[in-house]
Symmetry: D2
Subunit: 409 residues, 4 copies
């Protein structure tokens, strides 16, 4: 568990090689191009750098593709634990996950379709996603209610003859601004009277369905994260056939639960890759920059901080790998405390490392000359995305108390 | 000291009233207009909202003007302690400091000219600044060296006949993108052989002098802070008459020291105003937003955090007011530990409050629907501007050890 | 406010002088004697070093006596703010407060008697206390209930003819083991049906009253704090005349409130004196001790920590002095947030400084060769005494929310 | 790695069962007896509770003995990883390690003799230690120098004919007060001119050798840890035969290095057992104690803290188990960063949990009615024992920088 399996090592080496040869050398040019081309909020005119498609093609041709899917046929047959190491590696680049077709939210959506989709749904949506021809979004968070409590969700999904009709507003729908985004998995309230975890459903909604209006993209620390974006979308009497419902009406929470564990591990491992990158930048700067006749490394408590970040990152990684191993062994249910725990710990570790990396870069760290504010925004957003720290701490507490009282808090 | 003097109270009430009546109601519209008009990095086309000039005119007409200057004639005769309370109030708005002609870096520049400028310099630059007709910048930080150690500065100021010639590159020159910015106080190395604190000089350089090239504006967390901006500017054989030197060649550090104390107090009090604003937003959200059947205030440790922020802000304010009182009584020299201390404490308090305020706002806190990421960028930048935390901690340490060993560390 | 008044300065200098000449030189010998003589839990045989009485006599003769009492006749007419500086100075010694007759809990008890006692009570108890001839205790905390919620108190005080009868058990009754302790102020429940803050009463109970049984002394980190001690005492049908009730039955809470503010300030200022002492020990050790060829001061983040302790102590002191000034101006009611706030902040600052001082002393810091574990026990106990941190944070929160909602939480 | 192997599980269950049946029920009585009998600093009259020998006999008879030694014959053939789980379990009791003959410093001393001792040394000292008939101590730390830098050591070990002669003073020699302590492994400087890591030697010194004077026992937070004790011992021209030198003169550091890794893992796992115990006490109290009408668990941030302790303990355990696995695989050399890292992380986690557990117990937590101050003293001492946090952070830093510069700092 504490080191990659042979199979994982094999792919890890290949991914590292591909990144070193093809992605890292392109990254600076890409960022510059992207900033020049897409640095505005008019998502309708966002473009994709042409070399991205070429890189994806090449990665696919080399078999570096769909690692995330445990399935032997469509993915690489990697367990959550095995894939975790690859996710960390990809997390060192803003670009890499997409190149290997391992980017959120498509990965989660593909998992949902793979495990829960009908044959028809698979054919129509899963196949092109697995081939990297289209992109998808996941519409869950709503502006009007505290999404930390998922049962607050107000978007309605109402059966009407052979259709379901969707009404509501979602935001923070990641990837919605992407030119290739074609379909949304929308989660909403289908039966307010049902038992608490049978009230919600997931429906596939093509983005060109009448009544779907993308209202705006939302910035994170003033960045629109183009060409992906985080969108606000209104569903106004949107009608899709019932066959677009995943599994059945009322199955939304059950599906969400199944999707949860591995996705958290992926997110956290990518974040740890980002943390390693930030720590490298911190250390390099601390060695190169001179003040008062010494490298910054020698001044104040800069050295102690590096040591503490190393200890924090190593612990957070082991925690995440341990969680992955628990999931592989017994499913998400047996890892409830850990799946919540890593979601609190890892983004906070990342934020702390990046904050210090910014500090040691001085003014330069605040600008776009370094990737640090981007990494900070990532960390800060991760502390909220998929539930704020506080909700996950409450889960860890609840699991802990279960040892004493049978779970009643 | 712990409460405003009668004189300060008088002006504080008038400033509060003006802000409530004229600035706060305009703030949202202004932000929206500014975002729409100036949200790009082409500073050459940045514009100023026309109502800003009207508000300045009105404030000036009401005598709400130049509070920062202790001088009875040109300012209001307020001590550092007295003005501190006004600075806190203005800090609750991104716009207010300019409306009352109390915005950095003009305030510091005006102080420099008031205390150290020649009559000619005063007439040419101080008068229009005091009248709010032009704006100025302060060019000190350099991209190539660690500015935390000011003696690293490499920009040269070389006497040549009746002129001085300036060569070098500066960045993080705040306000450089402003349409009305007309003059820079440039700090540079005039005599590398002189004793350590007599090597540097300050020179007034009109921005239209041949050889001055504004190369770009630098973003802070992707925001350009238009229409002010933080600029990178190159001085290439820039020639100005010797009479533009402030005081004399070699006097740069002495002037900088004199400028230091009150400026820090102003910055810190404005930051505390911002912290109070962030805490208010945090508390309001925690009371309004409902999850799991309760206001967020009742969940997790949200309540405890509010209490801790209150205790931290109150302490930081007392520390700053105490510093102001020390400066008023005995000058900056007698408050070396405190002037450094508040520069560490206050921005960190602000950052912590804003970080929590973002957290309780969820995704909304990351977007521009709330002023929180702007306040975060302000806090984060303040931890670096005018020296990083670490440099000021070293000063506090040095002052502390002086009690034991006579200062040798 | 931020520096002692002239009157306070006068006494401060005299107290410093007395401590330097008479107490500090005696302290090591005293500690050694005390450890040898009293280091056991049989409080019945605890003794007082004979020189203590001599020092008290001398201090009294020099007029260095009863500073704590604002009264001009019996005390020195010092305000809470003025006395605060003396309390800090005394806090640098475990012995000094008693020498100047300014030791808890006698100070609080004398205040209660001075403000609320009958003439008879004053004559019998206040006079000998002011003269330092006897000592007193305050019995409030109970073992069976959470004392953080004072309304939990279960000890009964029941009127019976001309007497009141007391039944119950108290612990953490400080000073109960002292050979000169003669009387307790006991707080208990007199009318469970009365409005919430009129249910409790305070009664004077001579310790030799039948039914009073001192059961044991309680150690704090294995130290019995001899010859004072923290006792557990049982009241079994203890009968005292009604004239021993302070003010009236039901007045307990009102009296406790009045006693609260200044007492907190005294405690906190003494703790800050202790923190300054610990910081001095930390710095001295960091300069003297050599490892890897350098003084410890130069290693790791030891320097940064010193700076941070300085900033924390200075802020905590200003917070406490500010609280004292508020109390002097408007009474405890107007300083509810601050009185609670300093009770959280100051003991935590002390604990952090002492913890670091122990660390830099290595193993020696854990032993009795230095006063550090004693200071640590003091800090740790202060975080609980007179209400745990959490209760005071809740008060700060409640006061904060009052600004928004009129106080309903 | 993240869960015990089958072999480890087998022994873990048996150890748990023995502790539950025989040790836990005896613990309170033992503590009380020990406090009554041994609570003084005259180590010469410390006694051992007679039931301790019986329990050891019984454990030995059941084969629950010497788990720590990887050797198949003398120990149980358990790897460091496997034993780690047992160490955690034993760490829940102050008594258990001795009962199973797994108590420090004997474990480390036995390892040294097992791996590096001569046949004669083994016969004379290792055999009775393995049989639990005698006890041993390890004399390394010195009062006069900073032991954080082991090369500071001043005790001399000088060859003289067939003997070596030892001169110097050691302290914090754990177990020196124990009635059965018979031999010390003494580390000292044998050749100040040799290369830095060949200057020191280890010598076996029977405690009854002329010239060995136990000067005193040192308290930790006023507890003497009887009947073990931490002693200060003087070696005054102490003469032992050369055959008492372990391996050879100059081999001291090499032996110490070999002894290091597993010992750290044992210490840390025991500390994690203690942390789990403290967390249990914290949670139980938070559920039972009522204030303001609710269990303490519901008040303030008590719940959040429990969640954070769970996350911290789980991460620290994984970090320690990972370190154990690295040692098992590649020896201590390949785990230098981790061996240092766990030494920083684990004691701090323990201290934080215990501090909060004390807090929630109120005054009771400070007394000896609960084991909490004892656990606190353990945690606090562990942050210094075997090198302070700061030294280990420096090691982590050094290892980290090695990735960049080949190790030069």
């Amino acid at each position: 568990m504490w080191k990659p399996s042979e199979r994982a090592s094999h792919w890890l080496e290949r991914v590292k090689h591909f990144m070193r040869e093809h992605i890292t050398p392109f990254e600076a040019e890409y960022q510059q191009w992207n900033r020049k081309t897409n640095h505005h909020e008019n998502w309708q005119s966002w473009q994709i750098h042409p070399h991205v498609a070429e890189l994806k093609q090449q990665a696919k041709a080399e078999g570096l593709w769909n690692f995330f899917l445990p399935d032997e046929t469509f993915g690489k047959g990697l367990s959550t634990s095995a894939y975790a190491h690859l996710a960390e590696q990809m997390g060192r680049s803003f670009l890499a996950p997409e190149i290997f077709n391992c980017n959120a939210p498509d990965t989660g959506n593909m998992e949902v379709l793979h495990y829960f989709g009908s044959d028809k749904q698979k054919k129509k949506w899963l196949v092109p996603l697995l081939e990297g021809r289209i992109r998808s979004v996941f519409a869950m968070t709503e502006p009007a209610v505290a999404s930390s409590d998922a049962t607050n969700m107000e978007t309605r999904i109402v059966a009407d003859g052979d259709d379901v009709v969707i009404d509501g507003c979602k935001w923070w729908t990641t990837g919605l601004g992407h030119p290739e985004a074609q379909v949304a998995i929308v989660m909403g309230l289908s039966d307010p009277e049902a038992p608490r975890h049978e009230r919600h459903s997931m429906v596939l909604v093509p983005l060109d369905t009448p009544g779907v209006t993308i209202e705006r993209m939302l910035p994170v620390f003033s960045e629109y994260d183009a060409p992906y974006g985080h969108g606000q979308v209104r569903f106004d009497q949107v009608r899709v056939p019932k066959e677009n419902v995943i599994q059945a009406l009322g199955a939304g929470f059950a599906i969400a639960q199944g999707r949860l564990g591995p996705g958290r591990v992926h997110h956290c491992m990518r974040a740890l890759g980002a943390a390693e990158l930030a720590l490298e930048l911190l250390i390099q700067r601390s060695q190169e920059r001179i003040a008062f006749g010494q490298p910054l490394l020698q001044l104040g408590d800069n050295g102690s901080r590096i040591a503490r970040h190393r200890m924090a990152i190593d612990q957070a990684r082991l925690y995440t790998l341990h969680t992955a191993a628990l999931i592989d062994e017994a499913g998400a249910r047996g890892a409830a405390s850990e799946i919540a725990g890593i979601k609190v710990v890892v983004p906070n570790v990342l934020q702390a490392v990046v904050d210090d990396a910014i500090q040691i870069h001085g003014g330069a760290g605040l600008s776009n000359d370094h990737p640090l504010t981007g990494l900070f925004a990532l960390a800060r957003a991760l502390r909220l995305a998929d539930g704020p720290d506080e909700v996950h701490e409450a889960t860890v507490l609840r699991q802990e108390l279960r040892k004493y009282t049978g779970g009643a808090v």
